[in-house]
Symmetry: C2
Subunit: 316 residues, 2 copies
């Protein structure tokens, strides 16, 4: 299937059915009488781009003359296009709509489109044309929260806070949501500093919690990760808006207190185990590796491999 075939189709639809009126305003801009066809074939025309999975993408922001089209006319044009795409064997349509062109969302929804996602100033709608239930990939399903268990091996003290906004004042580790694009360890270090004023560095990943249909995550899932951090400043200067209390507590006291959450208590025990018998017993350490296809790098966390298993020298 040659690229932009469906772009040609859209041009044909516009020209055949409503082009005269719809494109009248555009004609003027493109150089006077006789230029309408050039304008229609130009870069301003809507591009429907096929993808390698048999779907097609339409970006309304590339279709600059669209603002001359009312919602009802758009619906007719889209309906004709869908018919054409079906006949071409397309399995899905991705419709990208800038927020200021949102008047075209409801007409698309009337034809079966629904939101795939929206963010900031644009939305993406999809329509599945293939057989059976949709096989389109979903959007992001999880928010990621990270807490830092800042443990000072020299004093056996651990940094704990009580949230200002919670109903029960339980001791827990400082933490919060990852910013978009932020690494797990960076979130832990940032949140610890913002909440408590303590500077620290990432050591390892200790625990992962997965929770679903979370009210605080707009009904999505929540991944909550606890990291082990090593402090390099010790004077607490906690955020009054977020925290009620903040202190360095003896690790034994945190293990024994009932005034804490089950996950904090569990991680306190893990830390005590690591403190006494070696942190390699409890840590997932991190390494940066290259991605095969994208040329990007990623962070990989797992139990540290002994040197001979990394190199496999003499391991036959």
């Amino acid at each position: 299937m040659p690229p932009f075939l469906s772009g040609r189709f859209w041009r044909a639809v516009f020209t055949r059915t409503r082009g005269e009126r719809l494109w009248a305003g555009h004609r003027r801009a493109s150089g006077g009488p006789g230029c309408r066809w050039d304008a229609l074939a130009g870069a301003d025309v809507l591009r429907a781009e096929p993808d390698r999975f048999g779907g097609i993408s339409v970006h309304l922001e590339r279709f600059r003359a669209l603002d001359r089209l009312d919602a009802a006319s758009f619906q007719k044009v889209l309906q004709a296009a869908i018919q054409q795409w079906r006949s071409e064997g397309r399995i899905a349509v991705w419709l990208h709509i800038p927020i200021l062109q949102s008047q075209y969302i409801a007409p698309a929804a009337s034809l079966g489109f629904c939101f795939h996602h929206a963010e900031s100033d644009s939305s993406t709608l999809t329509l599945w044309l293939g057989e059976g239930p949709s096989r389109l990939p979903g959007y992001a399903t999880h928010q990621v929260g990270v807490a830092g268990a800042v443990f000072d091996e020299n004093t056996r003290k651990i940094l704990v806070v009580q949230d200002r906004n919670k109903l029960k004042n339980m001791w827990k580790f400082p933490g919060g949501l990852s910013e978009p694009g932020e690494d797990i360890g960076d979130t832990a270090v940032r949140e610890v500093f913002e909440e408590t004023g303590i500077k620290s560095e990432f050591r390892s990943l200790l625990s992962i919690r997965q929770q679903h249909t979370n009210p605080g995550a707009f009904g999505k899932s929540d991944m909550y990760i606890i990291c082990r951090l090593k402090p390099y400043s010790f004077t607490i200067n906690f955020c009054q808006r977020e925290c009620l209390r903040c202190e360095w507590m003896d690790l034994h006291d945190l293990v024994k207190t009932e005034n804490t959450t089950p996950i904090t208590s569990r991680v306190a025990r893990l830390l005590l185990y690591g403190y006494r018998e070696g942190f390699d017993k409890i840590d997932f350490t991190v390494e940066e590796l290259p991605a095969v296809y994208t040329g990007l790098f990623y962070k990989l966390y797992h139990k540290e491999l002994p040197e001979n298993y990394r190199t496999m020298i003499g391991m036959d």
Copy 2:
């Protein structure tokens, strides 16, 4: 601040400025002349609900008479409301819009609203009214993919596939994206079965990879988790649409081959380490615990704690 104060404000705005015309159609339905005021005060009226963080939520689907309001009028009403909310000291507005009422999105955007998220048949827009940059929580930032490393301890064989849709045919573990609300281990077991026909059960979490601005994740982040699974069926019946090849490979061969991804090779070495020296060396095991605030349960993954650290009996 009493609840629904701003609901009263909206009613006042409608009544004062456009109520006569806007609500004319509605009047008839609610019992003839003289009933307009009752209708305005009734359950059909838009409810602006304050939250405990100083924000306010407006659900357009609860405002059934809204379809009589054109986009320009909606913008005027919303503008007046924002002014009122500012004067009340509100710090944020959450505007929930059903997909078929999307004609109100662009007018809201003109007043500074932008998409927080959208899914299926509704969108949510936000406007920050507080001081400084927005402190509103973001939406889901990660998709979660899970792969299953299905290892048969009796034969030292590991289940591997080659993707049909990748440019390089490298051996890797079968896997795919988590469905909304699906637990990590369940995704691994489901994807392994769908891709290879092999039945298995979850044993542990071995590795976590975090990657950002992922093209396959619509520019969001990707969390990719590899689990150790134990097979209980062995006859391969692989999905022709997804896989090019599928086989049980000796773990040593997977460790040594160059025809694999860095992450697969790394996890193969981890498995060899665990196979020889005990899987407790490499596993994060799972447990279900109760959440403190929501009454829900969650899955918690970490290095298994020795019994005496779990109970703390005799551990002073």
